[in-house]
Structure formats: structure tokens, C-alpha cells
């Protein structure tokens, strides 16, 4: 066996590798989603990916850019998958169409394509749908509704989870957690953002839970319900829109956790992670500016 040649540092290299690994990490959670809630979400995901690729191809052609390298880099597909996961499985097809088209065309391509968008495209698409069609965005299923899969009894007798989080969602979020940890192990994302998002959310929830047990939900409930874990590992870590400096990432993640808790507890929407991510996206350039690392040889 011959000695390998330099470079010896192994990281996830191209955009395609990174995006593929993100999709692999999402697969266990998606499988659990389909197990509990049926095939609706899988149809949504496939449809969203197709719409995303078509929109991206159209916009690239309009902008006079080469199609193949950008379509194959998988970033549009990841945006589509994340958006489809955020939508209820019963959402009509035109909602997925409008959300994905908006996310790719307006929130990504009109700003300059991959790497140039200031806001997370999947979250922009989700927020557009949430504001425009508030009724359809509430068509969530309960696991008991899906015939043949009533996991409610299983989970209520489980000693670890008990009545923790939404039924079915605890498992989905747990598998997303495993996927996210694998991404950190593979060095696709760094630990700073997920740890601070979940940590600040849990900390704030703990403080208020200790103040009044009956009024505020427990920290574990906040962590395993809704899109907190999906948001922490997959959405907030989007390298284009998140903060880039290590210290900046800590502040960025903390801000997301705090805002998520505030919107969840006192705001008008059930899950605040989308708005929290968008708000911190706005703040990311400023955070980056103030947390620039000291260059070697810098004079005070």
C-alpha cells in the first residue's frame, strides 16, 4: 500500500458532498415521520425537490449561468427537503409549490444564488406560507389518525419519554438528533450553533419552568417538540446565512434559542424557530463584524 499524498486534512469537500451528507442525516428522521404520519410527507418532499430543481434551472437560465454545476450541487434539494419537513403533511400541493418557488426564486436566486443569500431560503418559504395561508398551515395530523399506527399507548407507557413532547414527534426529533450528531462527527457542521441553540432554549425554559411549573413547559418538552432539533442541527447551521466566526456562532445560536422561547411562549405563533432564525440571519453580519478573530501579528 503506497503512502497517500498531501493534502492530509480530510473535511467534507465540495458543496455536493456536504449537501448529500445533510440529506443522509435527515433520512432516519424522515423515516420515522413516514412511520408515524403516513406517506404525505414523502410526497411533499419529492414534489418540493422537483419544484426546487425546476425553479433553480429556470432562474439560472434567465441569469445566463451554467446549469449543471449548480443543479447538481444539491443545495436546492436540501432547501426543498427542509421546507417540506416544516409543512404539515396535509398541505395542498399548490402550497408546497408556492413556498418552494418563493424560497428558490426570490430568497435565493434573486440575491445572487448559492452563497449570496442573506436569509435562509427554507425559512423564508415557510414564513411566506404561514403568513399567507394561516389556516392550511395548521392541518397537522395526530399519530392516532393514521390507521394501523397508534403509537400513543407505546409512548405513554415508555418510562423515558412519558408524555414528553408531541406524540410521535419525540421519536422523529430523537432521530434528527442522532443525524445531527453524525453531521458534527463528520465535521460537516461545527458544534457551536446546535449546542448554543438547544442550550439557550433549554436554559431559558428551565428558568421559567422553575418559576412556575404549571404555566410554562419543561425544557425537555421544548427541546423535543416542534422543530427545535431540526432547526438547531439542520436549519440554523446553514453556512451561507449563519454567523461564520466561532465566537459569533455562539452568540448567533444563543439568540436563536432565546427568540424561539420568547415567540413560543408569548408570541402568536406555535413554533418560533423560523422567525428566530430569520431574525438572527439579519443580525449575523453585525455579529461577524464584532467577533472577528485577532489576526496573528495584530498590533493593539
Amino acid at each position: 500500500m503506497s503512502t497517500p499524498s498531501s493534502p492530509y486534512v480530510h473535511t467534507a469537500g465540495s458543496v455536493t458532498t456536504v449537501m448529500l451528507r445533510v440529506i443522509y442525516a435527515l433520512l432516519p428522521g424522515i423515516a420515522a415521520y413516514v412511520w408515524f404520519f403516513g406517506w404525505g410527507v414523502a410526497v411533499n418532499i419529492v414534489f418540493a425537490v422537483v419544484v426546487a430543481l425546476v425553479c433553480e434551472a429556470g432562474m439560472l437560465a434567465l441569469r445566463g449561468r451554467p446549469l449543471k454545476p449548480f443543479l447538481l450541487d444539491g443545495s436546492a434539494a436540501v432547501t426543498a427537503v427542509l421546507l417540506a419537513l416544516a409543512l404539515p403533511s396535509l398541505a395542498p400541493w399548490w402550497m408546497t409549490l408556492i413556498g418552494t418557488a418563493f424560497a428558490i426564486i426570490i430568497a435565493k436566486q434573486l440575491y445572487g444564488g448559492l452563497g449570496f443569500n442573506p436569509f435562509n431560503p427554507a425559512m423564508i418559504g415557510y414564513v411566506v406560507l404561514l403568513i399567507s395561508f394561516p389556516r392550511e398551515m395548521t392541518l397537522w395530523l395526530a399519530p392516532e389518525m393514521v390507521s394501523g399506527h397508534s403509537m400513543g399507548e407505546t409512548m405513554s407507557t415508555n418510562p423515558i419519554f412519558g408524555h414528553l413532547g408531541g406524540k410521535g414527534w419525540e421519536w422523529i426529533n430523537g432521530l434528527f438528533l442522532l443525524g445531527g450528531l453524525w453531521l458534527i462527527y463528520k465535521k460537516v457542521i461545527s458544534w457551536h450553533i446546535p449546542v448554543t441553540v438547544l442550550g439557550s432554549l433549554a436554559l431559558m425554559a428551565a428558568v421559567y419552568f422553575l418559576i412556575d411549573r404549571d404555566l410554562y413547559a419543561s425544557p425537555l418538552f421544548h427541546l423535543f417538540s416542534g422543530a427545535a432539533i431540526l432547526g438547531a442541527f439542520f436549519i440554523a447551521t446553514d453556512p451561507v446565512t449563519a454567523s461564520t466566526t466561532p465566537r459569533g456562532r455562539l452568540y448567533y445560536g444563543a439568540g436563536i434559542g432565546v427568540f424561539t422561547y420568547i415567540i413560543r411562549t408569548w408570541g402568536g405563533y406555535p413554533d418560533g424557530i423560523a422567525f428566530a432564525v430569520l431574525l438572527m440571519n439579519m443580525a449575523a453580519p453585525m455579529i461577524d463584524y464584532y467577533t472577528r478573530p485577532r489576526v496573528f501579528g495584530h498590533k493593539d
Binding site: 408556492i98 411566506v128 403568513i131 399567507s132 395561508f133 394561516p134
Partner: protein, 230 residues
Amino acid sequence: MSDIAYSRIIRDGLWTNNPAFVQILGLCPLLAVSSNVVNGLSLGLATALTLALSNTIVSMVRHWVSDEIRIPVFVLVIACVVTAIELAMNVYLHELYKILGIFIPLIVTNCIVIARAEAFASRNTVTRACADGLFMGLGSMFALVLLGALREAIGQGTLFANAHLMFGDAAKGMTITLVEHYHGFLLAILPPGAFIGLGLLIAIKNMIDARLARRAMATVLVTHEAGWHA
């Protein structure tokens, strides 16, 4: 300085120097009021009338207003004109006046009115100033109506809803319902829809201009070649 041709004034006001699409002035009423066609049309007409009248008056007094105090004088003129129009609307178009609310008096602060007074009316003859004000106002109204139609069609699925507020009870049947039982796309009616719609309209206008320019270039090249061989 030679007088500007009327054809150029008309073309500038409506297209090449359109207040909303090229100068991008007066965005506050444009974005806030253009949620449907009737609101856009009424405020556009009010703005056009204000522009014509204020340009005329400013042009009439331009020789007696000294440079140092010209801005307060212009604002005073515009405020008088807008007050008159607001009172008239309150009397004759009361329901519409209530819907438009604060945006009628806000025509005083509309940048396009004072911009035309300063840039054109204070330096040109009365008739030209009046024409410029009128056609700038019509250009602005064109933008308001177009954006209003777009937002109303996408957001509510109708056109000319509430037309009776402006044209009287006989116009109640004027509403065109484009899609039966339209679900409604709330984003188009909210402010983000206004910004995005305006951006798309400006993009379309630039596209049209580019295409016309390319066609004009091709014609020039063809005639040049033809002349070369002659």
C-alpha cells in the same frame, strides 16, 4: 435655455422618467395604498391633480421667489393645494376619503411633488410646468393602478372591488371576479407583497427597455450597412 418639447415632457412623465419605476420616488403612498385598483386609482388622480396645480402655481411665482426661501414657499403652495383637494374629497367622496385616511394629506410629503417643483416648475414656463406635473402625476397613477391591479388580482382574485366608493352606486357591478371562490394570497395584500410587486414591475420595465434598445441598435446597424453599400 431652450424650451423642452411637449412630446419629451409627455414621454418622460409616463415612461422614461416615470416617478415610481425610474425615479423611485413617492414610495410611501405607492406601497401603502396600492392594495387594490380603486384605492390606487383615486390616490393617483389626487396626486396627479396636486402635481399639475402645484407645478402651475410654482411656475407662475418663480420669478419672485428668491433662492434662499424657495423650499418653504414650495411646501406652502403644495400644502394649500393638497388641503383643497382633501376637503373636496371629504365632501364628494366621503367613503373613499375614510379608506384612504392619512394618505391624502401625506401627498404633501410625497417626494415627487416637491421634486418636480424644484427640478422643473421653478425653471420653466407655466404651460410646460403644468404639462410636466400632469404627466408625472399620470405616470405615478399608472404605476399605482398597475401595482394595485396586480396585488388585488393575486391577493383577492378580483379587480375593481369597491368601485362604487369612487364612481357612485351605479358602479357596484363593476367588480370583476377573476377566480370564483378564490382562496386569497394574503402576502400580496400585505406590505411585503407591495415591495416584491414593485421590484418585479421595475424589472419588467427594464427588460422592455433593454429589448427596445437592442431592436433600435439592430436597426441602426442594418441601415448603416445598407448605406455603406449604396
